[in-house]
């Protein structure tokens, strides 16, 4: 038993090492800016979806307002660069500011929104989202109004530009995924998932629900803001409707659901599948309506036929294949189903 576990662990570390090497080596093999453009966007979304998942996936509170942090991060970098007259590569020093902007906004946002649950929470996140989008439109002298903000010019060739942003986005994605892993394994992560399963019971068992939820919300917001700043520098401009985009929130949820809500690899896989596909359709069909229809149809298919997402479904298939139809754990009584692996940690947390 022990040897198979350590064997599995070795296989996993090896697979991770191969993946990391592939990720680092990607721009060396595919040097065309057209290809790396896809990769940069995909990694940006890997980071944002993972950050979203740290809050919404773990706690069960579905946020449709993460564009608030994304857009605020973008605007924070843009406004700071404009007002403090920062040019060239100096703008990268402003990226922590984007994370701070996300976190600072998340505190009052969370204190208000996290008092309510389920539908009402989702609607409040949408309402706050629209308040921010309208502020970006209306505060002309601060945000540039409908013209938006432009990033300072970076004196790099297209290839160098994309390559450098590729590594920046990769770093963001790696940091977020590591953060998600650490949180999931920690006592804090268990508290979050206890809240997801039954918030009242979790509170009864001594989980400081508000503090836990708010901490996750702020962490998630900070990472989203940071990536928003990176996205802004890469795209070199932000408009109220692109920084605060309702489809952005929907895409996050779709990617997380496709991969598997609340898992670590699910959001990563979801982002890697959907974002390049969406980008391809947008570039190929400039009007974007077809990609909208396809996005909606894909969404329906996933929810109806694979509601738990790719990763949990695939894990189950693999387990079934390995055990050849025999239950992995002998049932306690005849006819009783084997316990679900994904549920086990939460149960332990309660005892």
């Amino acid at each position: 038993m022990n040897s198979t576990v350590s064997g599995q662990r070795a296989v996993r570390s090896a697979a991770l090492a191969v993946l990391a090497a592939a990720a680092v080596g990607f721009p060396l093999v595919f040097s065309s800016p057209v290809v790396t453009n896809y990769a940069v966007y995909a990694l940006i979304f890997v980071a944002v979806v993972s950050a979203w998942n740290v809050f919404s996936g773990f706690s069960g509170y579905i946020s449709l307002g993460h564009a608030v942090f994304f857009g605020s991060g973008a605007y924070a970098v843009g406004i700071a660069a404009r007002d403090w007259h920062i040019n060239g590569t100096g703008v990268f020093a402003l990226l922590p500011l984007a994370a701070v902007a996300g976190a600072v906004i998340a505190v009052p946002f969370g204190l208000i929104a996290l008092r309510v649950r389920r539908h009402t929470f989702i609607v409040i996140t949408i309402a706050v989202f629209f308040i921010f989008q309208l502020m970006a439109f209306n505060l002309n002298s601060f945000t540039g109004g409908t013209i938006g903000m432009s990033a300072p010019f970076l004196p790099w060739t297209p290839t160098a530009f994309n390559d450098r942003f590729y590594y920046i986005a990769l770093a963001c994605a790696a940091v977020t995924v590591v953060m998600a892993v650490l949180i999931r394994r920690s006592r804090f992560g268990l508290q979050l998932r206890a809240i997801r399963d039954d918030e009242d019971r979790a509170r009864g068992l001594g989980v400081q629900a508000m503090r836990v939820k708010l901490t996750a919300f702020v962490l998630s917001a900070a990472m989203t803001g940071l990536v928003g700043g990176v996205w802004f520098l890469y795209l070199t401009q932000v408009l109220p409707q692109s920084g605060f985009d309702p489809l952005f929130d929907l895409s996050l949820v779709l990617m997380a659901f496709l991969g598997g809500l609340g898992t670590i690899s699910g959001p990563v896989i979801g982002a890697l599948i959907i974002e390049p596909g969406q980008l391809y359709l947008t570039i190929k069909y400039t009007n974007g309506y077809l990609s909208e229809i396809l996005l909606g149809a894909l969404f329906l298919l996933i929810v109806l036929f694979m509601p738990r997402g790719l990763v949990p479904t695939a894990t189950e298939w693999i387990r079934r294949l390995r055990t050849r139809g025999r239950p992995a754990v002998p049932p306690a009584s005849p006819g009783a189903a084997a316990p679900q692996a994904s549920e086990a940690p939460t149960r332990e947390a309660r005892t």
Binding site: A127, N138, R196, L250, L254, Y289, I293, G296
Partner: protein
């Protein structure tokens, strides 16, 4: 100034009637099925386009056209419920239904874009431009008709819920689905018909919206976020609350427009957030059940 304020209040109440027409269906669907139908905004726009087709091609009067669009939207609603919503079960149902309806909204929006393109349209009729001078106020005819229509629809839905056998089974399902099932109510049928009625109302709402605003396939987003604010403020599932909240919100917006049109919509959402800080269940909300 004082007259301007009174005029704004009168406008707000009348426009509130139009929004009530759209919000009632949404809150009814929530009350029975416990889901938020994000597609409601786009369905309103779809209703507006249906009215547009009937009036522009067949030269049918807008209000007469409702005799065709309302049943059509009812069928669309029943089909959406039967095909997608009905299948969802389990712990993630809340978020799943929300996402499914969002996906439906995307598909409808995309199809409308393919057919009509992004150019804005507006419904037209003789009474769209005219207005009456009443007690010193200028009130436009279409809003007066629309307000009357809204009141009629709300009364009809009340009558349906409180005076018919079907309405009794709907209310039973709202109170306790399991118990309703146990006493022999066909809960699936109730759910399908309620969803159909909730969507059918958008045909009337869409006609009114299309006559009083210019619209394109993208207008659904702005609309659904306002409608959500209204039904949360009114208390989810409360039809009277939806009516009161529509009138309240649109009056506030209309008043703020006097000073600053571009901030009026912000006030709309800010009012929602403020009210929920003080009273998380909205004006007329039931106590939330113990559930995540």
């Amino acid at each position: 100034m004082a007259h301007q304020i009174y005029q704004a209040i009168a406008d707000g109440i009348l426009v509130g009637g139009v929004y009530a027409l759209m919000a009632v269906g949404l809150t009814l669907i929530f009350g029975v099925l416990d889901i938020i139908n994000i597609a409601q905004g786009v369905l309103v726009i779809l209703g507006a386009y249906l009215s547009y087709e009937l009036s522009a091609r067949l030269h049918l009067d807008l209000f007469l056209g409702l005799l065709i669009t309302v049943p059509a939207m009812f069928v669309i609603g029943v089909v959406i419920q039967w095909a997608f919503i009905r299948r969802l079960r389990g712990r993630e149902r809340t978020s799943m239904t929300l996402l499914v309806s969002y996906a439906v909204a995307l598909i409808i929006e995309g199809i409308l874009y393919e057919i009509y393109g992004p150019n804005v349209k507006q419904l037209n009729a003789s009474y769209v431009q005219s207005s009456v001078h009443l007690l010193g106020f200028y009130l436009s005819d279409i809003y007066l008709y629309g307000f009357a229509l809204a009141v009629a629809v709300v009364v009809a839905i009340y009558a349906l819920l409180y005076r018919t056998r079907f309405g009794r089974s709907v209310r039973a399902t709202m109170q306790d689905e399991t118990a309703a099932r146990l006493v022999g109510i066909d809960v699936n049928r109730v759910a399908a018909i309620t969803f159909g009625v909730g969507v059918a109302v958008t045909a009337a709402g869409g006609m009114m919206f299309g006559a009083t605003n210019s619209f394109n396939p993208n207008s659904g987003y702005d609309l659904i976020s306002r409608l959500l604010a209204i039904i949360i403020l009114g208390g989810l599932g409360s039809i009277g609350g939806a009516l009161a909240a529509s009138v309240f919100m649109l009056t506030v917006e209309s008043l703020v427009t006097i000073w600053s049109p571009e901030w009026a919509i912000v006030v709309f959402y800010a009012a929602l957030v403020l009210v929920l800080v003080i009273r998380p269940t909205g004006f007329f909300g039931r106590q939330p059940v113990r559930a995540q």
